[in-house]
């Protein structure tokens, strides 16, 4: 019964979404407030219907109702509760339901918190949101019904892919989706603004927090996925430039660009049409990401079994979204009033450079990711584009970006003084030089270490540059400490957000560079008692034994990890597990971290030919990997701090009053007359 209620709620949700897509749009065109206002209760109803459907599916998973095909395929009675719940989105149908669930939450947020939005903008934005919902609901109802029954009901389920039975991955998809779907807000507001024919600072003030929220989730979601791949797949790698990873990284790049160009719109009322375009593109790339992951068109180390017919539907959805919104853009964007002018060397100029570099990076990663598809379609053979391509293209784009990242915030709006800013950054330059020389010497001084040392110096440049910028704002050491402290307390939270996020980026850069350059690995057969040294530590193998988990059996190795001087650092117990349902092996690495370097041990298959109790073992020396997680967390934290800035909460009440009082002129009057 409950699955049927869920299914019915979805159908009902489709009807509500249709109403919400059409009526407020007409209301906004006719300036009929009653019709426009319908968008708000509709968004609430939308949330309720989809919420009921989501709750129904979750219920089916929790009680293990195997008459529901989706539960049978992806769950099992022996599974811990957390993974029963995460099983809801650990499959195609459920993940789409989560997708629109999040979309409904965002729409609800606009309806509830958007009280002081101009009514036409709100109505139109909600209408666009509803159009996206309609597309996805049709997709779910016609191709991917999560509530499909099987008769007779099987006694037990097939179980969830054991690789997904992991806390890291339980929360990775929801985070990623919150990011993807969050960009739909920027998209809806952009389309609404195009229909209205005006974009101003108030619009940017509305779009920025939503973009920021989406960006935070996407940042943390990607980091979580990377962390999971690092410890769960047992290869000690955190990024492979794999199509599925790229699918989340491409919208992140353009979303980061959007985040920065929205600042320019808000502060300087310029770059408007570019920002609108970025909003459209970012959401389209999010849709493309969903498409790439869900259709299985690309070979990926992460690929899950997928169904190509569904891919066609998402492709259609993507085409409608992209063609529709870009046509609207081509038609309306020229009518947007151009804003203030600025010199190339200015805050705006540096943000523009950031945008150009990020969009170019996004485009090249997209090209590399889709190239195998084009090549296959054009009969150029089956190819894949590997990490060397992405590294060769991406790194040269990021170097100037990180260089300018320290400089940009020091420049004034409108017209900046690059020489002066560079001079104020002398400390950062010194730090970069010291780190460069220090790492170069420490690494052994070989010619191949120059690049890595330069990268570490680059990270130091950004880190110290960011701190110098903060110090300048609070007049550190130039006034007495109390005044500095007062100034520090008075700084807007958005400023702190930037400082944290940029510092996080600096640390991330060091983590990426340091790990890529100085990672080490060692594979061998070891008998009990043997010792292997790598990366300044020694692993002593103490044999392996069988252990039993709740839904798996495992072979558990035992290693004593010692420092150079013989002091015991840790006892490491990596496992090779065999799950019972579904029967599938996984490797659980053992990782010991000192906060800067990780020591990573994996146990492989037994090798009885090499002596009793011999096993294949694998160790990784992983310097600077923790920096990746610190950096990503700092970036997320920076976003969060910036989100709490009071400017974002207050919104734009003055404009709202002005707009309801006076009829809108210019383009929106033209729009109403259509």
């Amino acid at each position: 019964m409950i699955p049927e209620i869920g299914h019915y709620a979805l159908a009902l949700g489709l009807c509500v979404a249709l109403v919400q897509a059409i009526v407020p749009l007409i209301g906004a065109q006719r300036n009929n407030l009653a019709l426009m206002e319908l968008s708000r209760p509709a968004a609430v109803a939308q949330f309720l219907t989809i919420g009921v459907a989501f709750a129904a599916l979750t219920h089916s998973f929790i009680v293990s109702d195997f008459s529901v095909s989706n539960v049978f395929q992806n769950s099992h009675t022996d599974k811990p509760l957390l993974y029963k719940i995460s099983g809801v989105w650990g499959n195609h149908e459920g993940s789409l339901l989560l997708w629109i669930m999040i979309l409904a939450v965002f729409s609800l947020a606009v309806a509830v918190f958007g009280r002081n939005l101009p009514p036409t903008l709100r109505a139109r934005a909600l209408s666009v949101q509803a159009m996206i919902t309609v597309g996805f609901l049709l997709f779910i109802l016609f191709t991917s019904n999560p509530f499909e029954r099987i008769d007779p009901a099987p006694l037990n389920g097939r179980g969830l892919n054991p690789l997904l039975q992991d806390p890291g991955l339980a929360f990775h998809p929801p985070m990623l989706y919150l990011g993807y779907v969050g960009f739909s807000m920027a998209f809806s507001f952009a389309v609404a603004a195009l229909i209205e024919g005006r974009v101003d600072a108030a619009w940017a003030r509305w779009v920025r927090p939503w973009t920021l929220l989406a960006w935070i989730f996407l940042t943390l979601g990607i980091a979580l996925g990377s962390w999971w791949a690092y410890y769960e797949l047992g290869w000690g790698g955190w990024w492979y430039w794999d199509p599925v990873e790229n699918a989340s990284f491409i919208p992140w790049l353009s979303g980061t660009a959007l985040l920065h160009s929205a600042i320019v719109v808000e502060k300087r009322d310029t770059l408007k049409s570019w920002t609108i375009l970025l909003a459209i593109v970012t959401f389209s790339l999010s849709l493309l990401g969903t498409f790439l992951v869900r259709s299985g068109v690309l070979t990926s180390v992460h690929a899950f079994a997928t169904d190509p017919t569904r891919g066609v539907f998402i492709l259609l959805l993507l085409a409608v979204t992209v063609v529709g919104s870009l046509s609207l853009y081509a038609w309306r964007a020229p009518q947007l009033k151009a804003g203030g002018v600025f010199a190339p060397i200015s805050r705006e100029g540096s943000l523009l450079l950031n945008n150009v570099l990020l969009s170019t990076a996004s485009a090249t990663v997209l090209l590399g990711t889709l190239y195998p598809l084009f090549a296959d379609a054009l009969n150029l053979g089956k190819v894949s584009v590997g990490p060397p391509f992405f590294n060769a293209v991406f790194v040269p784009l990021m170097v100037p970006m990180v260089l300018v990242m320290a400089l940009g915030p020091m420049l004034a709006w409108k017209r900046g003084d690059a020489y002066g800013a560079a001079r104020r950054l002398w400390l950062a330059l010194v730090a970069a030089a010291v780190v460069f020389a220090g790492t170069y010497v420490a690494a052994g001084g070989a010619l191949t270490d120059v690049g890595a040392a330069f990268g570490m110096g680059l990270g130091a440049w950004l880190l110290i540059g960011t701190l110098v910028e903060w110090a300048e704002r609070v007049h550190l050491f130039r006034v007495d400490p109390v005044t500095s402290l007062k100034r520090a307390a008075g700084l807007p939270r958005a400023a702190y957000g930037m400082t944290l996020a940029h510092a996080g980026m600096a640390i991330l850069v060091m983590g990426v560079v340091g790990n890529t350059a100085w990672k080490g690995e060692s594979i061998q057969v070891m008998s009990p008692g043997e010792v292997v040294e790598i990366g300044g530590v020694a692993y002593e193998f103490r044999g392996a034994e069988r252990v039993e988990g709740p839904n798996y059996d495992a072979v558990q190795g035992r290693f004593i990890l010692r420092r150079d001087d013989g002091a015991v650092l840790a006892v490491m117990e990596p496992q090779k597990r065999t799950y019972t349902d579904p029967p599938m092996p996984t490797s659980e690495a053992a990782i010991h971290t000192d906060g800067i370097t990780d020591h990573y041990a994996v146990i492989g298959d037994p090798s009885p030919d090499d002596g009793p109790g011999a096993f294949v073992t694998r160790f990784y020396h992983e310097p600077f990997v923790p920096f990746l997680w610190y950096g990503a967390l700092l970036m997320g934290l920076g976003g969060l701090v910036s989100l709490t800035d009071r400017r974002h909460r207050i919104g734009a009440p003055t404009r709202a009053r002005a707009r309801t009082a006076a009829p809108v002129g210019g383009a929106s009057a033209r729009g109403a007359a259509r």
Partner: protein, 162 residues
């Protein structure tokens, strides 16, 4: 700075980025494309020794021999076969009768030395290239899904999915 000059600056910057990116892409993509070949493809074309490419197909039943950290197995598309050697820990889902994609180079003796064996997250997953090459070799059973179709045609016994 006038509007016109600013627009010129925009366009200039855009062109520069575009030109730079194109140059980067063109230089990088030529060297870094990995072609995918099936064992049958390799009988039909010359692959320069030392050229890196991807070899995909099914792991032939009964062909996996482990010798310490070195593993030897045979990749087949059910028409032709290529012996492969790989040193390291295999992905957890590596199994006889399953689809596999390996990356490495072919030696003069016809032995493929794999530098990596791609892991999959899902035991039902069949790499699209492998599915295509099985279709070409005529061993693909329509109407069945991915791995199962291929495994049935090789007579895989211990397949547990579906």
């Amino acid at each position: 700075m006038t509007r016109k000059k600013r627009r010129l600056y925009f366009v200039g910057l855009g062109m520069l980025a575009l030109g730079g990116a194109t140059a980067l892409v063109l230089t990088a993509i030529g060297d870094n494309l990995l072609y995918f070949y099936s064992p049958t493809d390799l009988t039909e074309r010359e692959v320069a020794p030392g050229q890196r490419f991807r070899l995909g197909g099914l792991v032939e039943e009964g062909s996996v021999e482990k010798d310490g950290e070195t593993v030897r197995f045979v990749v087949t598309d059910l028409v032709h076969t290529i012996p492969v050697t790989f040193t390291g820990i295999l992905p957890d889902l590596f199994r006889e009768g399953q689809g596999v994609v390996t990356e490495g180079q072919l030696g003069p003796d016809g032995l493929f030395t794999a530098a990596s064996v791609l892991a999959k997250h899902d035991e039902n997953y069949m790499p699209p290239e492998v599915a295509d090459s099985l279709k070409e070799s005529g061993y693909w059973e329509e109407g069945l899904e991915g791995a199962e179709a291929a495994v049935r045609s090789t007579g895989g016994a211990e397949q547990t999915s579906h």
